[in-house]
Homo-oligomer: 226 residues x 2
C-alpha cells in the first residue's frame, strides 16, 4: 500500500518524552529517571519511549506515562516536537514532548521505583540528558500561560484541597506571591470550585475548608463565555 513516492524518503525513530509534574510539600516536582540503558546510562532523563508502528503519538505518550505511574486518563498536552539532527547522541531520534499533570498521591511508587524514577523539585533540577532541559522549560512556560486562562491546577491536587494548597500551587507555578484575599475573592467567583462541608485538620490546627473542582459546572461556565 505504500505509494512508491513516499518510499524514497528517509525514515526516523520517533519517541515521546513525558514531563510528569506533581505537587507536594509546597513544591512543584518533576518525575525523573536514571536512564537505564546506553548511551548515557545513569544520567537524569525524562521518561520516554519509542512510538510503535500502529500507535498514535498521543497514545504513545499515555502509554509511557502509564508505564511509569500506573495512571490513566491524566491531563496531558503536547509541548512540541524536538528534531535537531544530533539531539540524541545514540542515533537520530525525533521526539515529541508532552507534559502531564498528576496527583502525586495517586502515582504507583512500585512502578516508578522499578524504573529508577524519582520526584525532583523543579527549583533544583539536576542536569538533564540531551535537550530535556529545553523540553521542561517549554512545558513550564506552557503551564504558566495555561494557568492564566484555564483551571488546570486541580490536576496536580487531590480531589479535595484547601484554598491555601491551591494558592501555594499557583504561587509556585507562577513564581510569585499572591495576595491571599485577592486570590480567595477570585476563586469564590468561580462557581466550579465548590466548598464542601469537610474540614482538613492535617495542615492547620484550626482546620481549613476542603474544596473540590466540579468539572460539569466548569464545562457549563465555559459554554457561557462563548
Amino acid at each position: 500500500m505504500t505509494p512508491p513516492f513516499y518510499g524514497q524518503y528517509p525514515k526516523f525513530h520517533v519517541a515521546v518524552d513525558c514531563i510528569i509534574l506533581g505537587f507536594e510539600g509546597g513544591q512543584l516536582k518533576l518525575l525523573l529517571q536514571k536512564r537505564p540503558f546506553e548511551p548515557r546510562q545513569g544520567e537524569w532523563s525524562l521518561m520516554g519511549g519509542f512510538v510503535k508502528r500502529n500507535e498514535d503519538i498521543d497514545v504513545a505518550a499515555e502509554r509511557v506515562l502509564n508505564q511509569l505511574t500506573g495512571l490513566h486518563g491524566i491531563y496531558m498536552k503536547q509541548v512540541g516536537a524536538f528534531g535537531s539532527v544530533n539531539r540524541d547522541s545514540g542515533d537520530r531520534v525525533i521526539s515529541v514532548a508532552y507534559f502531564a499533570l498528576v496527583d502525586i498521591a495517586k502515582v504507583n511508587n512500585d512502578l516508578n521505583h522499578q524504573h529508577s524514577a524519582y520526584w525532583e523539585d523543579i527549583s533544583a533540577l539536576p542536569p538533564l540528558l540531551f535537550d530535556h532541559k529545553e523540553m521542561v522549560e517549554k512545558a513550564l512556560y506552557r503551564l504558566r500561560t495555561l494557568l492564566h486562562s484555564r483551571p488546570v491546577g486541580f490536576n496536580l491536587l487531590p480531589p479535595l484541597f484547601t484554598l491555601s494548597q491551591l494558592q501555594q500551587l499557583y504561587e509556585v507555578i507562577l513564581g510569585r506571591d499572591i495576595d491571599k484575599r485577592n486570590f480567595r475573592k477570585r476563586i469564590s467567583e468561580m462557581e466550579f470550585i465548590e466548598k464542601t462541608k469537610l474540614i482538613d485538620k492535617v495542615n492547620s490546627k484550626r482546620g481549613a475548608a476542603l474544596y473540590q473542582f466540579n468539572k460539569s459546572v466548569y464545562e457549563e461556565s465555559k459554554l457561557f463565555k462563548l
Copy 2:
C-alpha cells in the same frame, strides 16, 4: 554507531507542513497548494515536505517555505506534531506543522505558480487534505494568543505601513472590530513602532503617515520588562 537498542524500534516518515500566512486587501490569506502527486492528487493541501536524513526539522520547515516562496529568514513557529496512525492515507507519516508570517509582496509568484499554490482567504477556505484543517486552526489559535503578547503582526506587513493597515490586520486576526482611537493610543505607547516622515497616498486621498517596526528598540523594551 546506532546502538542495537534503538535498532529494534520502528521508523517513520516525518514531514513538515507549512501554514504560510499573508495579509492582502484587508484579508488574512493562506498559501495553499493543489496537491501535485498521489494519493489525493489535486486536493487542496498545505505545502509540505519530508524531512531529510541530516536535516533539523526546523530547517526542513524553512526549506519547504523557501521552495514555495523564495523567502529566507521568515518568522516561523512550530505548531505541533500530528501523529495519528491514519492521518495520511498514503502511508504512515508523522508531520510537524509550522506557521510562517510573510509579507505577501515579497513572495516569488513564479515559484508558487510552479507549485500550483494560491493565496486563499482564511475566511473562505476550501476543504483541506488529511488533518490540514486542524493544523490551520491550531496555528490561527496560536497566532491570536501570540498577538496579545508580542508584536508579530509586522511580519505580515510591508516594512512601511499605515496605522489603518495595522489595525485592519489586528481586526482580521482577532476577529473583532477595534476602536480606532483606543488602538492608536495603545500603539503610540509602543516606542518600537516608529512614525516616519513618509506619507502613503495610495490608500487615501489625504495621505496617511507610514510607520515602521524598530526591532532593536523592541528588543530593548523587552529587556526592560524582565
